[in-house]
Symmetry: C2
Subunit: 352 residues, 2 copies
Amino acid sequence: MNFPALKNDRLLRAARGEEVDKIPVWIMRQAGRYLPEFRDLRQKYDFFTMCQTPALAAEVSIQPIQRFDLDACIIFSDILVIPQALGVHVEMKPSVGPVLEPLVEPEDITKLEVPVNVNEKLGYVAEAITLTRHKLEGKVPLIGFSGAPWTLMAYMIEGGGSKTLSKAKAWLYKYPDASKKLLTILTDAVVDYMIMQAAAGAQLLQLFESNAEYLGPDLFCKFALPYIRDICKRVKTGCASVGVGNIPMTIFAKGAHYALEELSGSGYDVVGIDWTVDPTEARNKTGGTVTLQGNLDPCALYSPPEQLKRLASEMVQKFGKTKYIANLGHGIYPDVDPAHVKILIDAIHDVK
Amino acid sequence: MNFPALKNDRLLRAARGEEVDKIPVWIMRQAGRYLPEFRDLRQKYDFFTMCQTPALAAEVSIQPIQRFDLDACIIFSDILVIPQALGVHVEMKPSVGPVLEPLVEPEDITKLEVPVNVNEKLGYVAEAITLTRHKLEGKVPLIGFSGAPWTLMAYMIEGGGSKTLSKAKAWLYKYPDASKKLLTILTDAVVDYMIMQAAAGAQLLQLFESNAEYLGPDLFCKFALPYIRDICKRVKTGCASVGVGNIPMTIFAKGAHYALEELSGSGYDVVGIDWTVDPTEARNKTGGTVTLQGNLDPCALYSPPEQLKRLASEMVQKFGKTKYIANLGHGIYPDVDPAHVKILIDAIHDVK
């Protein structure tokens, strides 16, 4: 595809465990509502129109790269494109969040349109990735991503966000077989989707298990971890077979403090952690085998500048400079001052 | 007050680390919407009217004791009675939850009516406790409770529930001194409130730090733990000075997996844990010094009976039979079948 040569490979080097001149930093949801230029565009277009229009998705993905000295770009999209590809109606309602036509009973699984042809249904993501990669001119690597099966299943059963995920978790207790069937359908779609993203130009792939925090060790090991593992294995094999081998992969299971050992042995190069986990403890639990990513409290960005710099520097002291990618412990909040994002990025890069 | 003699002291024995014939079990929010008899009464009265009317609060508190073989009764009330006592308007809106007149700026702290005379403002809770204790006829001990300062502060700033608590957490980063001032005001009120409950007849006191899950180790150790510790010390001293010494105390900091060591050394007799923490790990971290309480996933109650029995028994195997109080890892959900609550209680008591 004649992509421009990569000029900043800190993210990829750190993901592979290699030495870096400076600590790579990017921010989950960096293409988002805290940026006025994002909000301007968002006023004109519906959320999913932005995802589905490669030129818009590319523009929005690159906005934070034009403004900040970030070490990675992440494609603008949403984890709920997978349920959409399975035929589920999904809308993004302002100040409510995503609203999905919910699966109520196990029989509803039969309504899903499977198998998914991801090239047909989600080809717009591949196009957006290829376009963004060209537009980036090799400045920084491009990250592709997907939601993980349990997280997607939870949205599909709850029909949107929920404080407890009690409907989705009820499935795990009441209908374990149907749950596994649904998780397998989602796994198959995610595998094809991530391979497609790599083939289109994504240089690192991150899997978001955002709803891990609602599970405990037992449910996670039964209904999340096996699919997370399977995805890594199959995506790596699949990428190699389409000639884009050796793509690093990241797993970020928010709230899975109880499964850091398991996650570090699940095949991923990078394990993301949230701010409730102490970096020193995360290093101990993951035994130095993987690169860690995270984990500043998103609310730390509300701090006055000097305090923010101190918090960033203390975080790096705990993680250490190698096998480390700096990030927040979750997506950035819409009311953060962009000037504070710059302060954070510079503080990370300034660490000697 | 001539309270009837206590016939079942399993809860208190377990809290003190003594041997028990059967494992004591109670359920957070056991006086709640999953019971048809509760919903019947709730249809006739506003939520806070029920809290403020001792006869109603007592009736509702005793409902689950009449139905199940529980080892404790907890007084029906709400953690938000403390903000109310400080002059904050609080309403419970159906299908929304609590709505408070929020504190927006640090100056708003001056609007709070301090110091609180808890006997005057919250005397109805004391009355409800005394009445309930008599009505229980010594069947089981009565638990009093309060919200912990950080949890109350978060509600007061957010003005209700929130997915991120980003407004309240912003205070911790931006206004640490004002935050500590507010937390101190709340601590003083909570101390008096808990002593009043003990003097009125509560036989164990539980402090709920329900919003601990939004903090990480650093914020928790700065803005939650010192107040939690202080409350324990002052309540125990205060109880002794009003002649109700030796009342066991429980701290339940939901989501504080990162601070179990600290909590186990904070003076409380019992540490409650949520279902994301493996009981074996909790025992290791707390070093056998405290009694543990918890931690079945509330959604486990959706399981078919045999599976529920197995889950309960597996939980007990991990905690062990001594220094243990069985409970859920959070409050019971409104759509749970009461028949499953009976199955759980019997399964716990059946453990040999």
